[in-house]
Amino acid sequence: MSTHEHGHGSHDAHGHHDSGHPESTLRGYLIGFGLSVVLTAIPFWLVMTGKLGNNELTTVAILALAAVQIVVHMVYFLHMSPSSEGGWTMLALIFTVVMVVITLAGSLWVMYHMNTNMMPGMDPSQLP
């Protein structure tokens, strides 16, 4: 705590850096909100009306819209940018996304194959 008084000099020098947040603007929030409303309404509308007629196609469409909406929230609400906190938040985010993709894709892939290969006609005579 004794370093605090010394810290004040660099505090001013770094200016906006220590708040870590770029200034939020009304325009940014409104754009983000408008995009989110559209990107939320379309998937609900697609599923509730069944407009595409095809479940696989609808699934791909709503997953793509969700991915876009997540990016919109990250940019306009969470103010993510490659330069915030000297790039450390982006680095942490990329690392997390890699982990999430491995966890999700790995679990789904492995368990799907376990289900299809083991469950239906499991033949005890073929077990070691």
């Binding site: 947040h21 998937p43 599923v47 969700a66 997540i70 990250m74 997390t96 966890t103 789904l108």
Partner: protein
């Protein structure tokens, strides 16, 4: 803390052993690393949700002859719930804007509005849970329902703690004003709140919409 560093520094000087730490650390203003630290916490929280999503993805089709998502989920209700959370996100944004303009009362008002939207979201979710449990779709009924209640319940728990944090901050700002520490806390809660909205995008897409399509 400073005295111990000084003592150990002089100790190493005396023995002339190599120094394995930054002896002359440059100053960090108080709270300068809080936002990054909080972001790292959010990323770890993200991993918790990823695991719960993966669990739901694996078990979501195991109904054990119980009710299926199609029979249970009420999409119009989920749409209302989603809009509650989305509205609370934009009102929190308005609160942050008022904070930047140093309008304490307007900011408190927007925080209260945000909290009310959050409470409405929780109320609708609890109504949905109560309705499902009343129909016999309890967490014990099937693997699908266990993973559903775990994933959606964990998100709901996060929203609950977000609201508690919001009430705490409203009281803090009310008593101490927009001091530097309170601003920092408000920005942390802003990240937390928007992060919960991001997770909810995954929930309504992956659980509700894809559940009905299944």
């Amino acid at each position: 803390m400073t005295t111990t560093t000084a003592a150990s520094a002089s100790l190493t000087e005396a023995k002339e052993t190599p120094v394995f730490y930054v002896a002359d650390e440059h100053d960090h203003p108080e709270g300068s690393s809080t936002m990054l630290g909080f972001w790292l916490y959010l990323m770890s929280d993200c991993l918790i949700f990823a695991v719960l999503f993966a669990t739901y993805g694996v078990l979501g089709g195991s109904y054990a002859a119980g009710p299926s998502p199609k029979e249970l989920f009420d999409l119009p209700l989920v749409a209302v719930n989603t809009s509650m959370l989305l509205l609370s996100s934009i009102t929190y944004g308005f609160a942050v804007l008022e904070m930047q303009k140093k309008n304490v009362n307007a900011m408190l008002l927007w925080l209260v509005v945000t909290g009310l939207f959050g409470a409405a979201f929780l109320g609708i979710e609890l109504y949905e849970f109560a309705h499902m449990i009343h129909e016999g779709a309890t967490p014990q009924r099937s693997a699908f329902l266990s993973s559903f209640f775990t994933l959606v319940g964990t998100h709901g728990l996060h929203v609950t703690f977000g609201i508690i944090w919001m009430i705490t901050l409203i009281t803090q700002v009310w008593r101490f004003g927009l001091i530097e520490a309170n601003k920092r806390r408000l920005l942390c809660l802003s990240m937390f709140w928007h992060f919960l909205d991001v997770v909810w995008i995954g929930v309504f897409t992956f659980v509700y919409l894809m559940g009905v399509l299944r």
